[in-house]
Amino acid sequence: MNTHTTDSHDGLRDDLALISNWITPGARVLDLGCGDGALLAHLQAHKQVSGYGLEIDADNVIECVAAGVNVLQLDLDAGLEQFEDNSFDFVVMSSALQEVRRPDELVDEMLRIGRDSIVTFPNFGHWKPRVSLGLRGLMPVSGSLPNRWYDTPNIHLCTVRDFETLCRQKQVDIVRRHVVNHAHRSNIGMRTFPNLLGEIALYQLRHHATA
């Protein structure tokens, strides 16, 4: 399932570098929750990609503008109905799925707007959160889940199995899956037991091809 081709990623955050590898040159990209615009800036510089980032935080918006990235200061929870069907090659949402009000509806919207969607999220099924909750009886705090229960923006945490169940229900094709640890490295263990050993999950999704 994994691709092992890599491009040059001078200083790009590891998870964004992984996403960048999946995006085809010249694509039109919509990046939901684009932060400081690092992914789009990289894709513009190295893959002739065009597109827009959506971001709610004012300081991040300024960073995007300074980086020459098209950024739209919008709230993902307000919906994406202004974007037309199939108007982008890729719709990306990195580490924001668990922060939105209705992740299932947002995934629907991503699939509607983009030919391909790329979603990443922290895997709550990883053994560390399981140990923390199951044995110690405490909400997990870790590298990929750094916040405490009362100040976390994560309101819809899920596991790899949860997410794939949702994809099955929605009849979504999982084009690729990649699970990595907090340092964004993968190994055979994670590939064999993704829900137990993967800390961060990356998915490329597509509407189920109807015959």
Binding site: Y52, A58, V61, V65, L72, Q73, L74, Q82, E84
Partner: protein, 383 residues
Amino acid sequence: MATHADFPGSVGLVEPHTLHVEGPMPLDCGKKLSQFELVYETYGTLNADASNAVLICHALSGNHHAAGYHDDTDPKPGWWDKCIGPGKMIDTDRFFVVCPANLGGYNGSTGPHSAHPETGRHYGPDFPVVTVGDWVRSQDILRDALGIEQWCAVIGGSLGGMQVMQWSIDFPDRLRHAVVIAAAPKLSAQNIAFNEIARQAIVTDPEFHGGRYYEHNVVPRRGLMLARMLGHITYLSDEAMRAKFGRDLRDGRISYGFDVEFQVESYLRYQGASFVDRFDANTYLLMTKALDYFDPAHAHGGDLARAFEPVTARFMVISFTSDWRFAPARSREIVDALVDAGKQVSYAEVTSDLGHDDFLLTMPHYVNTLRAYLNRAAVEIGA
């Protein structure tokens, strides 16, 4: 002689220039101006390849005097002095800033108060109704006269933002960047309704004399004052008025009469009265009509994205959360159409308190966003 150093952070003393244009210039209404004058100011220095020019388009009550002072005793600088100057948001150390007064205005470019070339009398009501498109065409004549191939950016707030959109559609090759602040792609019925009340206040003033009040040596004072008072309410948010005036009484007690009692009444009367001294009633009528008529999507069956098809400029669109005259949703209509048309656009929604007039001020998020945007624009052209 006062110098730049006497006005720290300001462009200092400035003087207006005049461009005489021999027409005829055809207008959207079908009439022609046989000749006209455009009055404008410039700040900063045009670079060798004339690539660092920025055009400022003014709003309803603006004019060519956007920054600096006209003389040492000037109590107030130009209308956008907070944002235009050395090191400011629109940095005159890097850009050559040009601000013309629009046709139909007062105390500037040719307008109803000017002398009609044939009769020698004031145009008055005979001054043709001008549109945003007419303004942009006249500004393009100024561009050419100044030897500028392409504006680095065209910037405007409110009605000024509408001119920016028109520029990007009518003269796509003549601007690199379009900065649209606190604007709308067209007026709503509510917006037009407010304008109509303002116009009715003016034309029903007994001193209006069908627009020929100059010849009677009067001004429709009450009408223009009411128009401005009404307008001012729409420029401020409910929250801002609450914070500024609340229900404070001017004399501390209710007098059971109809004279000024609440502070907000006093404020509005002051705003209205001082406006009469610096503005012209016929100009007010023309400016509100230009607002009402602006609708670039109209020629494309209401499809704004299609209207934006010729656009090559990159857009920065900014709105303010407390603005209810042109609320953020109106700016998002512009943004959505640009996205649909596949154009380059960024959008910032600035959290604010004051209302529509926030675009004249310097909230950090607003200033830093536009500064970052214009910095890139300057770097692109090596300024």
